[in-house]
Subunit: 93 residues, 2 copies
């Protein structure tokens, strides 16, 4: 009746990050930070978790001389997000 909710996605900040990444080709750390209003520390930890789960890829490079971390959602991440949304609908409808 109430399907299990993926604990990786059932987190306010991680859900926001994945939701954001689902709509764009890629986004860098600073942009995600601004859009979500998260602190850098929290965001760093949650991005690491999403990456470990295989839901996003993280690429460290430079924009000019400044370090720049670029995130992208993976196919697995998109699929997990899709399933999470479907499961959630059982709860809220």
């Amino acid at each position: 009746m109430f399907p299990k909710l993926d604990p990786i996605l059932h987190s306010e900040l991680r859900l926001a990050v994945v939701s954001l990444l689902a709509g764009v080709e890629s986004a860098d750390f600073t942009y995600i930070k601004k859009q979500t209003g998260a602190t850098a520390g929290n965001l760093s930890v949650q991005i690491e978790k999403l990456s470990t789960a295989g839901y996003i890829t993280v690429e460290k490079g430079f924009k000019g001389k400044m370090p720049c971390t670029t995130c992208r959602i993976t196919d697995a991440g998109l699929e997990a997000f899709r399933q999470y949304v479907a499961a959630l609908k059982e709860y809220i409808s």
Copy 2:
């Protein structure tokens, strides 16, 4: 952009309980336990939290000689649920 999600409701089991109660006049502990598949301990704790938050009322009585705990959603609980669902939609749409 990403509204804050009510932490009382952003919990798998509490959300299931409130979702269930939103659709019925009342439900007792045992019934909720069966429908959600939760352990009694976990359910007891989460029901207490929902009650403390004013989202549900808890009435202890007897059904025959057996103790029976009956739960009901409050107006505040319904409103919080409604708002939570609205906020969530910003994340998943």
